[in-house]
């Protein structure tokens, strides 16, 4: 089901205290925990039990650009399908999927239809946020009609799953000349309200199309008011920010916040500043699938950081 109604998500119970009291790091063979501020290593049996504790696993796909047919990848729909097959072949079935935008290349009806046909083969709930390529139709309604049900403003929303709080943001509308991605006052106000009454031990997962952190402003890779969003998330023990848009894996950890961008399933883009522009990068055919892919995200209650595994389509 892709037209998920975000109003009806219910929150599953979790021991929030445990997250703060018992942050764990899995190192090389030793599992450390902190209880009451004092680190201690767990016994082997405890560690084995912890390792087997089922956590939440979800998938991120991004930038499928259905309709793209230029030299960098003449068949973006085909590589999206390869990505979905990769997901279907995973040992552990993820609980759901998020799509961090640019579902289509030009917001055409048939592009949305084709994307849906392929993505639905994963048989997972999909939580979408739009990319700038999804708002190109005259009335800007095709994306909203499909994926905007129960969302606010240009399509932002939140939901709870597996003990974590998920927040889908839109930073691709009302962009200002000379600027970067933009969340806007209304959305920021909503965000502040959405998180203020939550326990600080609730793991937070924020996802949006354009990186919320400044990756490379010369190419517009950042969000003008992303810093304000992060202000509201200060104090939460675990914040994970998942983005797309730049068609390559990039990660940064700052305090309790992990920033991560996923690969596209359509075409790669150059590393910041390594090409005259951020446009689609043509690579050798044999290399293309190593630069496209999906990401799986796992977390267990009590873990401070979510484990993010980027899986290329090939290699």
């Amino acid at each position: 089901m892709s037209e998920h109604d975000h109003r009806n998500d219910d929150e599953r119970g979790l021991s929030r205290r445990k997250v703060l009291e018992c942050m764990t790091w899995a190192g090389t063979g030793v599992l450390w925990t902190i209880a009451g501020g004092v680190p201690r290593s767990m016994g082997l049996v405890d560690a084995a039990t912890a390792a087997e504790a089922p956590g939440l696993s979800f998938l991120q796909i991004s930038d499928s650009h259905v309709g793209f047919d230029k030299p960098a990848n003449p068949n973006a729909l085909g590589t999206l399908e390869e990505g979905i097959k990769k997901i279907n072949a995973m040992d552990r079935k993820p609980s759901f999927m998020i799509h961090t935008g640019d579902v289509t290349h030009l917001s055409k009806v048939e592009e949305f239809d084709n994307a849906e046909k392929i993505i639905s083969q994963a048989k997972l709930d999909v939580h979408y946020v739009p990319g700038e390529h999804d708002f190109l139709d005259e009335e800007i309604k095709l994306y909203k009609d499909r994926y905007g049900k129960g969302t606010k403003g240009a399509g932002w929303y939140s939901f709870d799953a597996g003990g974590a709080h998920f927040i889908g943001l839109v930073n691709v509308v009302d962009l200002k000349a000379g600027g970067l991605g933009n969340l806007g006052a209304e959305q920021l106000e909503w965000l502040e309200d959405d998180v203020k009454s939550r326990s600080k031990s609730t793991p937070i997962v924020v996802f949006a199309h354009i990186p919320l952190w400044t990756v490379y402003p010369q190419w517009g890779w950042g969000t003008e008011d992303g810093g304000r969003a992060l202000e509201y998330l200060k104090g939460f023990g675990s914040v994970t920010v998942l983005n797309g848009h730049i068609h390559q894996v990039m990660q940064k950890v700052e305090g309790n916040v992990t920033f991560h961008t996923a690969r596209s399933t359509a075409f790669p883009q150059p590393a910041p500043g390594t090409a005259p522009s951020p446009g689609p990068m043509k690579v050798e055919d044999a290399k293309l699938r190593s630069m496209l892919g999906v990401a799986s995200i796992n977390f267990k209650q009590g873990d401070e950081r979510l484990a993010i595994i980027d899986t290329p389509l090939q290699g």
Partner: protein, 114 residues
């Protein structure tokens, strides 16, 4: 699909002009109305700044593999131009028209109309 709006005349003649800043007068019909090109390559408007006369028409052509727009707040707004699509606007009054790509706002340009 056509994303092209030509308000001026001499559509085909306009397309033959390659050098963006070259101003070619058209016959004796409208002595001062000219057609000028701005190219979009590598997420850049070229020329980024252009001076034209009142009545002139500017045509932007996208030569990237990614769609772009040209938007001047309250003045003109193109649809998304896919590869090789164009948009034209005829400037009826003098002034500085700052514009940008609403999809990639770091792309900016200006048309000065005298």
């Amino acid at each position: 699909m056509t994303l092209t709006t030509f308000r001026g005349m001499h559509l085909h003649a306009a397309r033959l002009i390659v050098a963006a800043a070259v101003l070619l007068p058209f016959g004796g019909v409208a002595a001062h109305a000219q057609e000028v090109q701005v190219m979009i390559d590598n997420f850049t408007f070229a020329p980024a700044e252009l001076t034209v006369k009142v009545g002139d028409t500017v045509t932007w052509t996208n030569r990237d593999d990614i769609p772009h727009t040209v938007v001047s707040a309250g003045k003109f707004r193109s649809k998304a131009m896919d590869t090789d699509n164009s948009y034209s606007f005829t400037f009826a009054s003098a002034g500085d028209y700052k514009y940008f790509c609403s999809l990639h706002p770091h792309m900016t340009g200006m048309i000065k109309v005298e």
